[in-house]
């Protein structure tokens, strides 16, 4: 677990090669203009990047979260937006794989894993973010259907997704009244509000969903009524590992860029890396990245072994994305004024890092999760 196997290195190299040649040339302009390219998503599907941990019988690679993290780290080195696309498209796969019926799996998993369908996850609302259990969107049972009404906010792939896993209230207040549904992208009554104009992650569309008497078959419910919050939380436990892995990739890209720059940039007649103030900063960045990666790999490994992993996944998410924020900020510092301009990618890394501390549960919420786990262990 402390070293990648030959197979994992091969995967990483194949992903890195594709990202360098196909993804990298689009990154700068798409960040500037907030463009998401469905054709790049499909190409990633063809390359096999989208269903790494999904079983082979459902069109995935049947590998572990460990390999999934290796793939995500490589994508994030080039584009945090597309790493998030792969991670978010993975959420419906992990949800249906774990809780879906055979029909639901057969219908959606192969398409999601192949990039023939784009997946999304709709939990947050304008007034319920961290407190997702307070959501207001309702799903009312009518015969063989459910009728959904409400607003979902911040939805990655909103407007372009083919399938949303949508959480809505079927019962009383609080988490126990929530159920999970498959909401097709072309459902009647589903429309899209504003697309957020964001600080970072700009190639990833974040859009409001408006549900106005959306009728879906009752067979689209995932699990029992009232089980939706468990579905969402289980997905987030896994999703945290993927965001953490993306954070590691982003950090590594920032360090590598800053390191090369520091060996080339001269001030006072020396490469700036020869000043202890700079080299110690780079050393600290490297230490943080290395420890984040180990934590991410441990979380993935625990999950792959079928051991409890939620607590370590929360730690990995917290540490790796706090690291991404600090390392990308320091990378800008290493480049000085040049780092603050769009001539170099480090300012984008810094903007992209920020959102990783917010999505899939803010890092305050991660600490809350970790604290609860600790308390449970200490309580007699």
């Amino acid at each position: 677990m402390f070293q990648l196997t030959e197979d994992q290195v091969d995967l990483a190299e194949a992903v890195a090669g594709f990202c360098r040649e196909t993804l990298a040339p689009t990154v700068e302009a798409d960040d500037e203009h907030q463009v998401f390219r469905p054709e790049l998503f499909r190409a990633m599907g063809e390359q096999g990047f989208l269903g790494v941990p999904t079983p082979e019988e459902h069109g995935g690679l049947g590998l572990g979260y460990f390999e999934y993290c290796v793939v995500l780290e490589e994508i994030a080195k080039v584009s945090a937006s597309y790493a998030v696309t792969v991670a978010v498209n993975g959420l419906p796969q992990v949800i249906l794989g774990q809780f879906g019926t055979e029909e639901q799996k057969a219908e959606w998993l192969p398409k999601l894993a192949a990039g023939e369908a784009l997946g999304a996850f709709a939990l947050s609302e304008p007034e319920s973010g961290s407190d997702a259990g307070a959501m207001k969107t309702t799903a009312e049972r009518r015969g063989d259907t459910y009728v959904l009404n409400g607003t979902k906010f911040w939805i990655t792939h909103g407007g372009v997704a083919d399938i949303y896993i949508c959480m809505a209230r079927t019962g009383g207040p609080g988490p126990k009244g929530v159920s999970a549904f498959i909401l097709p992208g072309d459902a009647t009554g589903l429309s899209f509000g504003k697309k957020e104009n964001k600080m970072g992650l700009r190639a990833s569309p974040t859009v409001e969903l408006v549900l106005d008497d959306v009728v879906i078959p009752a067979a689209n419910r995932i699990g029992e009524e009232g089980f939706g919050f468990n579905v969402a939380m289980a997905a987030l436990d896994s999703g945290r590992i993927t965001i953490a892995a993306s954070g590691v990739g982003l950090s590594q890209a920032a360090l590598d860029y800053a390191g090369v720059y520091a060996t080339e940039r001269k001030q006072f007649k020396k490469p700036i890396i020869d000043f202890q103030g700079v080299s110690f900063m780079l050393a600290d960045m490297a230490c943080k990245i290395e420890s984040s990666r180990l934590l991410v790999h441990k979380a993935a490994w625990l999950r792959d072994q079928g051991l409890p992993y939620a607590n370590i996944a929360a730690m990995a998410k917290c540490v790796a994305t706090d690291t991404a924020m600090s390392v990308t900020t320091d990378a800008v510092q290493v480049l000085g004024g040049y780092g603050y301009t769009k001539e170099h990618p480090v300012e984008r890394y810094m903007r992209d890092a920020k959102v990783m501390q917010i999505v899939e549960g803010t890092n305050q919420i991660q600490r809350l999760v970790i604290g609860r786990h600790l308390k449970r262990g200490w309580m007699r």
């Binding site: 197979d7 091969d10 194949a14 992903v15 390359q47 096999g48 990047f49 690679l61 793939v71």
Partner: protein, 258 residues
């Protein structure tokens, strides 16, 4: 169609070349090794030919036993069906002619009707082996191919000559096609194919298995040395018009290249 492709494992084009301390050759220890640049075009063209005309592709490599991994990732993972790695001591020490003899014998044994090779290996860049294979097999050879098509048992190949002149060569199979930059755009391995490549057949054989006794190099190489360091670049000062004039003068009078 029974298609062959010759792929040599060489240092990556970005590798920092180190020379062995006794000057007897290049030290590839710790270097990133890959299927050579031009051979990548050959692998891609072989796979495209299979996709267009059905059949199977066999890769042939003369090299070290440790090249197996790279043949798997650089050929089998892309769509080549099986590989022959000729890797005994005799093979490792074969010169260009010996290498061609080994490859020709293996190609003959495999019953290929067409063979793709790179224009040159990325490391020694001899450009000898493909022509020798064709000669040994008694086949036609077309060099520096930038466009290629097969119809029935005949082929048409476009050769890139100097100064942008193109030559179109047609003929009938069997043929050795030597691939030039620009012939195609090599693909990346898909992740599932990387996994499958581990299970594809790869036979490791030696010169003796091909009935060849003497393939030792007929020439030897020595006194490897790094090229002299490049002189520092010169910056021509001044506005665009006068700088351009000065540049032309220097190119003509000092560098004598125009």
């Amino acid at each position: 169609m029974n298609i062959g492709v010759c792929a040599k494992i060489s240092p990556h084009a970005d590798a920092r070349i180190k020379i062995k301390s006794d000057g007897s050759g290049v030290d590839t220890k710790g270097e990133k090794l890959v299927v050579g640049d031009y051979d990548e075009y050959a692998v891609e063209e072989a796979i495209r030919t299979k996709e267009a005309h059905k059949g199977a592709v066999t890769a042939f490599t003369v090299g070290a036993t440790s090249d197996e991994k790279l043949v798997r990732s650089g050929a089998l993972a892309l769509g080549v069906d099986k590989a022959v790695l000729i890797s005994d001591d005799a093979a490792v020490n074969a010169g260009p002619l010996g290498t061609a003899k080994l490859l020709a014998a293996a190609i003959k044994e495999a019953g290929c009707e067409i063979v793709f090779t790179g224009k040159a290996a990325t490391d020694d860049g001899n450009s000898q082996v493909s022509a020798m294979i064709a000669e040994l097999l008694g086949w036609a050879q077309v060099s520096q191919v930038t466009k290629f098509a097969i119809e029935g048992t005949s082929f048409t190949a476009t050769r890139a000559m100097d100064a942008g002149v193109l030559q179109i060569v047609s003929g009938s199979l069997p043929v050795v096609i030597t691939c030039e930059d620009g012939l195609n755009d090599p693909r990346y391995p898909k992740l599932p194919d990387i996994m499958k490549a581990k299970r594809k057949p790869l036979s490791k054989i030696g010169a003796g298995d091909l009935g060849l006794a003497d393939v030792a190099a007929t020439s030897s190489e020595s006194n490897f040395a790094p090229p002299p360091p490049r002189p520092a670049s010169r910056i021509i000062e001044g506005d665009a018009a006068s700088a351009a004039q000065e540049l032309v003068r220097l190119l003509r009078e000092e560098a004598k290249v125009i």
